[in-house]
Amino acid sequence: MIESTAAALSLAEQETERKSETRAPVKHKLMLWVDDVTVDFDGFLALDHLTLAVDEGELRCIIGPNGAGKTTLMDVVTGKTRATSGAVYLEGQSIELTKLPESRIAQLGVGRKFQRPTVFQSHTVRENLELACGAKHGVFRNLFGGTSRAEDERIDNVLESIGLEDSARRRAGLLAHGHKQWLEIGMLLVQEPKVLLIDEPVAGMGPSEMERTAELLKGLAGERTVIVVEHDMDFVRGIAQKVTVLHEGKVLAEGKMDQVQKDPKVIEVYLGA
């Protein structure tokens, strides 16, 4: 426990150092900082003094065996689960998320894609995207107003980048599984979030769909901060810049994919097979 806190501190120091060193402060700005978070489910520590720092524009993959705390981590960041202790900061240290309701966190620019694709089944693809970008308006604006021209444009762009222009008028419930996953990513994109949390984006996808998804995510990184939780190691190898391995609610290793793969601790708990 003490070890991981120390590691966290040194990590945070590194971040500040790097910030002061570089000329362009826009790059390497700390975007999401999970600071010493513990989640205690009646004695079971789903997250155990976990610390994690993700830079702006980074594409980070989080891997780990079942029960390592990956989904709980996402739950804490998005406000679905309350942290027992610790804090989560967005954009440096300016905003603390753990006390805020889910909707507020989403409005601040943290978007989340669930493990199981959840799109609004009885709405069309386009309506799904319209829904995703209407949250800031409030009840009465949405009662009397339609989508603005800027919103329409954004929706058109997203439809193109997720490759669903031809299905815009189809009911989302009728889409193939892989297309639902894309639609859900698209719903995140129209919100123009700062941080995208994506839980198992390629679960149940075929190879060609997987490739397309990898391109989509790589295209987003740089512009947005993307955090992906994924089981499929080939997929992770294909996209990851930096990988964090979780185990029993703690960070086991962090670094480039090939480094992490050589780490004996990681091999023992996860990659051994």
């Binding site: 998005t78 679905k80 309701p101 889910e102 909707s103 989403a106 409005q107 978007g111 989340r112 669930f114 959840t118 799109v119 609004f120 089944q121 009885s122 709405h123 309506e127 319209e130 829904l131 995703a132 209407g134 949250a135 800031k136 308006h137 409030g138 009840v139 009465f140 949405n142 009662l143 009397f144 107003g145 339609g146 989508t147 719903m187 919100q191």
Partner: protein, 373 residues
Amino acid sequence: MTAFARAARRLSSMHSPRAWIAICAVLAAAALVVPLSNAFAPAGSTLHFPDYLVPILGKFMCFAMVALALDLVWGYAGILSLGHGLFFALGGYAMGMYLMRSIRGEGVYRSDLPDFMVFLDWKALPWYWHGFQVFWFAVAMAIVVPGVVAFFFGYFAFRSRVRGVYLSIVTQALTFAAMLLFFQNATGFGGNNGLTDYKRILGYSLHEPSMRLTLYVVSVLVLFVMYVGCRFIVTSRMGRVVTAIRDAELKVRFCGYETNHYKLFVWTLSAMLCGIAGALYVPQVGIINPSEMQPSNSIEMAIWVALGGRGSLFGGILGAWVINGAKSWLTVALPSAWLYVLGALFVAMTLFAPDGLIGIGTALRARFGRRQP
């Protein structure tokens, strides 16, 4: 001009032209054909619409408003209320209070106070009865009181994330508690006898056939306006948010919506619509008493919507008409069989047409249509 064009475009986006024609046909039949045949066709001819049916049909219009309101929260927002009878009754009581005040000394005891107060030996009007001698005040209260009750109930229930069947049970308890309260003489609403023996409304006698016809036509028109209003809501961007909440509330919250605001809006609006329905119901049936708040009444309202087809506003209205029509007919023709018929109808619909009466057409086409290419 532009405002007019925009309104026209919005109206046409709410329904297909064919659906608008069908709706206008129903409206014309209800608001023109029935009154004309009742007023002008000679009594006894087959074209004459009998007097005794007018208030019954008016009652059906009020029930249809309730079904519409309930469909809005259940069919679209996914909140099953088993307590809408309470909001209906509150609206009814507000109108009943006005009608009691307008008796003005023509009651059995020739007193300025309503008869039941004289009977209880009360000397003065309770404070909350003041103002109800004014018609528009009573109408406003028929909308505001159910709205306020629903708002506070909904605020706390939604904030505590009470959902699904738990919420239904709490609404049921709410109407039951209110019923017990209104049964008390001391509450000041006439105890278990309620408010009755009305004489006139806005100075006109309530027993004249022309007044009954007027109340009926007003009910039809109010129902139409409510329908268009509800349709406006469900086809708006906000309506799509509400249906999305029904289908996946958590996801909507993660999109950044404050889902409680949306739920609270439709919930409160629905209660207010029920209040209006109650206010139109009372002068047509001539009585309001706490039995309107019985849990079974509220459950029956949910059955109208379920049988008619929830999630389609006209389905709810259709369900209210068909079930109440069958009830009026069967309770006279075969009084002992009515409940069995209702039960059998409910089982049959659940088995063969889960989308309700409104979905029968599509269900039949799916089953029998297009056998041969």
